[in-house]
Symmetry: C2
Subunit: 420 residues, 2 copies
């Protein structure tokens, strides 16, 4: 019986060429993060359904791949609702499993705990170009550190990893703080319980510009004085540490000035100790979607590509919701699949340490000749060269083209008559 050849809807088979790039990028990321003292951990891909549907994952909870109960616990005929037949689901991110992991294992973990997670997550999203239902997330999180050392080290580590992946690309890190976002809205006179709606409009700044934001706020019915004060404030802000401090003074009536000082310190310290070049800007329009952020937020863009390649922030209240014990936390996530797409589209080739060679031998070698070919391959391998050995196919030209496509451009041929 022939089976279905295509992968399940929205998921993909990864070909050797892409896989080589993925492994290369992952190794750089892991190696860099380990250099900054992060420890790799892993959680199961399957989580308790109760944990996944606990309303911490926002809209992602609608997209869970659910897992059927097994054995005696399953009674399909009597079942009325999904809940009757399901006891698990595939994780939709790495943050929720990390919270459970921390609650389960904190007695055996350093404090603060610096976690590095690389793993697949699943979301039953509507399939579309470049978006898959199984994809890799790549997160660092520091749990148990309330100081801005967490933000500083995460920005340093992440920019270093990105720079090692694409040394000739420029990156810009944009930073903001949820408290500053709120302070600006309060200062301008928006109603306190409506600031989330204001931020949703502000978040469109990069698409609709300041005038567009003004128009949408007015159309939403907010007081024209508030809208003018807000857009005026946004227009005048400088994007460096001094700008953050100046804004902090202006907002001192509605916001603790320590918030601005904290962000300015993060910016100054990162710039002072970074050993690579990248942009670092205060962006008062940076919002970040997830509701769980409580302080600093950041996003990284890459020269020549719209959207972001990394993002994160501080979420001091999330872990407590899972564990019952408040734990300060700050995380940064690399858009792994986005970076792979960028590299694939730009024809990126993984640098090979010691080259690749293909050995093709004619059919019908004597035992001694065959062993001579393999011995030669073994010698090259011992020197670090990747050697593929194959018998010549009838269509040698096609075989060589295929090998070249796999990066085996140097091809050595062995014939009965020329081997002693």
């Amino acid at each position: 019986m022939a089976l279905k050849k295509k992968p399940v809807t929205g998921m993909k088979d990864i070909l050797p060429g892409e896989m080589e790039i993925r492994d290369y990028v992952l190794n750089i990321i892991k190696d860099t993060y380990r250099g900054y003292g992060f420890s790799a951990i892993e959680t199961p891909c399957v989580e308790h359904i109760e944990n996944l549907t606990s309303k911490q994952g926002g809209d992602n909870e609608k997209l869970i791949f659910k897992i059927l109960k097994r054995g005696e616990k399953l009674n399909v005929e009597a079942a009325q609702t999904e809940a009757d037949v399901v006891d698990g689901g595939l994780r939709y991110d790495l943050t929720l499993p990390l919270s459970r992991y921390y609650a389960n294992n904190s007695a055996n973990l350093s404090a603060p705990f610096k976690a590095l997670q690389v793993g697949s997550v699943w979301r039953a999203d509507r399939p579309q170009k470049g978006r898959f239902r199984q994809f890799v997330q790549c997160d660092i999180d520091i749990l148990g550190d309330a100081t801005n050392l967490a933000e500083i080290e995460e920005i340093l580590a992440l920019t270093k990893a990105l720079k090692r992946i694409c040394p000739d690309k420029a990156y810009t890190v944009r930073v903001n703080d949820r408290a500053i976002l709120k302070g600006m809205a309060d200062y301008s006179g928006f109603p306190e319980n409506e600031t989330d709606k204001v931020f949703i409009i502000l978040d469109k700044m990069d698409k609709i510009g300041l005038d567009g934001v003004r128009e949408e706020l007015l159309a939403e019915g907010y007081a024209p004085e508030a809208v003018e004060k807000y857009t005026g404030l946004l227009a005048e802000i400088q994007n460096d540490a001094a700008g953050v401090r100046a804004l902090g003074e202006k907002l001192s009536g509605v916001m603790d000035p320590a918030k601005a000082e904290n962000l300015a310190t993060i910016m100054e310290t990162v710039k002072a100790v970074a050993d690579i070049e990248f942009g670092l800007e205060f962006d008062p329009t940076l919002v970040r979607g997830m509701g769980y952020y409580t302080g600093t937020i950041f996003e990284v863009s890459m020269e020549g590509f719209g959207g972001s390649v990394a993002g994160g922030g501080r979420y001091d209240k999330l872990i407590g919701k899972f564990t019952g014990v408040d734990t300060p936390a700050c995380g940064f996530s690399i858009g792994f699949e986005r970076i792979i797409t960028i590299l694939m589209d730009s024809g990126f080739k993984v640098p090979e340490a010691a080259g690749k060679k293909a050995f093709l031998y004619e059919k019908g070698l004597s035992g001694e000749q065959f062993r001579a070919v393999l011995k030669k391959a073994q010698e090259e391998r011992a020197n670090g060269t990747r050697v593929a050995v194959a018998q010549m196919n009838k269509n040698k030209k096609f075989q060589k083209e295929q090998l070249a496509k796999d990066g085996y451009e140097e091809i050595v041929e062995f014939y009965k008559d020329s081997l002693k």
Copy 2:
């Protein structure tokens, strides 16, 4: 609301110490296999339920984690059977997805295709010590090569990987061929359609010995002459290439002598070209469980540990069952979880290239002092040292003990008064 802290039944959280060993071992395996010309590939963790339940996976099919249909396709209330509510499942091995992958992508793959797969698989087995419901498999497979180059290269690559992981352990590769198994049974006079039952008894040889095998065969009701001829044959066989050839001559009435010659050649060639030491033995009692093997079979044991740490064989008929096109195939699987357990139990430590250091700084440093500590960390990191920076906790002794447990044995302390 506090959530469930434990992982789902039978699956586990992986702590930093184990994770370090896992990543280390995986990197060696991947690097070694790439040196032998294998290309890493990946398939989705979710497969079509029809593919998973196609009776190619033997008993493993009973253990599938099944995935619920979504959206309009799901109607729990009207459902009568499992099939009504399920459309996918988590893969239970990497061989079935590989067959689908090959059918889907062979136009874009080299011929022969040398696949390297590392990935989690899931089986809803009864949980027991050291057996988990999610575990990593680590396979190489050569598709489209009918020659014994496939067997030879796989044995060379796998033993090299094992030797790099544990250089001071001795390994023994035991080989056999399904045709020789069958030839010995036919030669001894067992009924032709009962050979599978004979092999199940033979497979117990390492536990019950030759006498035990004799007794069980007799108890099963086989003719005493057949049993005597069979056990006599088993007792006299030499375990080297010459022994294989001698057996081939003896079985020439019931088996094509090319089968024995092929196995003898594999053994001789591997020994002639291997650049590391390991045992290589013909084992006429080696059976291997999976029914899909068609030719050579192999198993690897490690000095001081019962059971095997790797196994595999040729399965020339399996891919054709999925694709409709017969494709010769030979695979070798490393018992990854078994090796990790052995390393963990023996207190194995991952060798660090350039060391690990922890920097602890006193609370309340000036901005300048703080930057000085971070700059020093950046310098050490640039030299390849892994540096964890943390503020001193109140209980510094405990903090240092935790760091030491994570491998940060060298700890540098920074104080307000001593930093300029």
